[in-house]
């Protein structure tokens, strides 16, 4: 797994960090929070896994609650951005959690969209209902997100499937995103075709352009 360590800083003795979870970060590194959302079964976890580990696991488990990934993206100018990806469960009952965080009104409790710099809203090209639900997800972002300039992209996953299994064509997805003035990608987590790397590279550049250094230092 890529991490956000920057070379140059003397590494700390590993005694207190036996499982190497902690990365020693310099101030120069920027962080961004990205949430992966969309209906159950559209391939959110597979997208994250393809991006982070460069592989496709056909034995993935359905996500319960949320799962977390991190990966460092390097830019041509030598700078880098560390993406923290919240891979969320698509199940409807988990969606019910978000507004609840607000209801409790404790500083401790926040919803998963809070302080997110970007959202990757996914559907599956094999499931036309998952495309229709994109609007529901976008509404949730508007309702619960707190960063006005949050970057949103629409992603149609499973582009590798046979024509006979496809329910949403490329054009349809493109048009859908266009009408909402959002960038559009079609990806395959199954194939190693670079579609997912391209998605996150573009997303990272966009984040870097849209947010100041300070904004990319904010906490979770």
């Amino acid at each position: 797994m890529g991490n956000c360590n920057k070379k140059g800083k003397p590494s700390r003795p590993s005694v207190r960090d036996p499982i190497n979870i902690r990365g020693d970060k310099e101030n120069k590194v920027s962080y961004a929070k990205v949430v992966l959302i969309g209906n159950s079964g559209v391939g959110k976890t597979s997208i994250a896994q393809r991006f982070i580990e460069g592989k496709f696991d056909e034995n993935n488990k359905n996500t319960v609650g949320a799962s977390y990934f991190q990966k460092n993206i390097s830019f041509k100018d030598g700078s880098s951005l560390c993406l923290y990806i919240w891979d969320t469960a698509g199940g409807e009952k988990f969606q019910a959690l978000a507004p609840l965080y607000y209801r409790v009104k404790s500083k401790y409790i926040i919803n998963i969209f809070q302080n997110a710099h970007a959202a990757v809203v996914c559907y599956s090209v094999t499931d036309d209902d998952s495309l229709k639900q994109i609007d529901t997800w976008l509404n949730k972002l508007d309702e619960h997100g707190n960063i006005a300039k949050m970057i949103k992209v629409v992603v149609g996953n499973k582009s590798d499937v046979d024509k006979s299994e496809r329910r949403v064509d490329l054009k349809e997805g493109k048009l859908f995103a266009q009408q909402r003035d959002l960038p559009f990608f079609e990806t395959s987590a199954l194939l190693n075709d670079g579609s997912i790397d391209e998605l996150f590279q573009k997303l990272a550049s966009q984040i870097k352009q849209s947010f100041t250094k300070e904004e990319l230092h904010a906490t979770v």
């Binding site: 960090d17 609650g65 990934f69």
Partner: protein, 422 residues
Amino acid sequence: MEAQIQSIEAAAQHQQTSLIQSKINQLKNSQSLVPFSDEDFVMIQKEINSSLNVPIPEKKQDFKAFKSRVDQIQSKISNFSSNFIKRIFPFKKQQPIQQSDQVTQGQQGERQQSQHVKLDQNGFIFIDDYQNELSKLDWIQLYKMKKFAFTQDRELYPQVKYQVFQGLSSLPSQDRQAAWLLLLGIDTKSEQYRTYQELYYDFLCTQCERGSEQEYIENLIDKDIHRTFAEQKMFTEHPKSGRNRLFNLLKAYSLYDTDVGYMQGMNFIAWLVLKNFGEDDALAFAVFARILKINEWKRLYIQDTPKLFEMIPVIKSFLMKRLPKLDQKLTENQVPLEPLLAAPFITIFANLIEIEDAERALERFMLLGENYVIDTLKNMFTVHKEILMEMDAWDLQVFIGRKMFQASIENGTFFLSHTHHK
């Protein structure tokens, strides 16, 4: 001098009575010793709720015709676990164990308590002098002897606990099945069980209408079948073929308990149940349904998952009292515990650790209930407090949400000793 002795005796008696009273209260409040039915729960929950001020969510009424039928059948099943009351108040009047005056004294206190509760005389299982070697519990024999009230047997209970904590994975499958049935209080010879059986086959034959809510639920289940320990290649039939046992079980449950329907995470527990009940799907259904009754566990899977929002505060108050620095750090960094700790509760750790470990965890849960999960999480925060203190906001989430569990398994701190859980 005599007066002095008398006052000392009185004080000792008083102490004894209050000790027993506190034990009863502890039992009532822990809700953890035995699985029990909805009815039993409500009785205790009312008390707890009144102190915590937690609203019990109102039951949703859809699916009316079907529901009423299920309710009808469920009312037949409800006394399935009526002996829970007997477990809370372990001694009855006719119980002939009188080893010392103190015990008699104690029983009086308990008897007073139990007068408020109607006990089913017929179903009471009386345990006297059952003895066994610590290392060899004959689960099948215990099951045949219907030792469902083992928690009130002062000799048997420690042995059961010890065995469960040792792990039951080395047992032949029949023995392990008997152990589960005993832990869950399922008597396959009972009429109640036969009702479960009938119900299960009724559910299997139920076809959902197009566009119905049930169809929507079954589609959700369908999506998760191949995402449940898929590498084990166990339930590979097409979900809607009627031959996929995992799908069938979850479908049956969704019809049985329409408040729940289906929620992601239940699939992992159902899989573990089916793995251990290979031949008898109706029995697996009863086992699954019973597990979800432990401490009203099903309230994790209903709308708004109220149970999660009752259990997370327990962890939080533990952090506040015992690990104040870590608590402060989590607060400052706005680390949300609810989504991070959703999976360990909703799957009873099953999707976070290896299958063998998940089975062990599930068996401990059957024995100890929610306190097992809560104690395990508390311990994990304690064990990892130093490393957590060094993490930043981002890493805290990755660790608490995912890595902490396998890390605890690997450093041997995940499974606590049997003396740890009260």
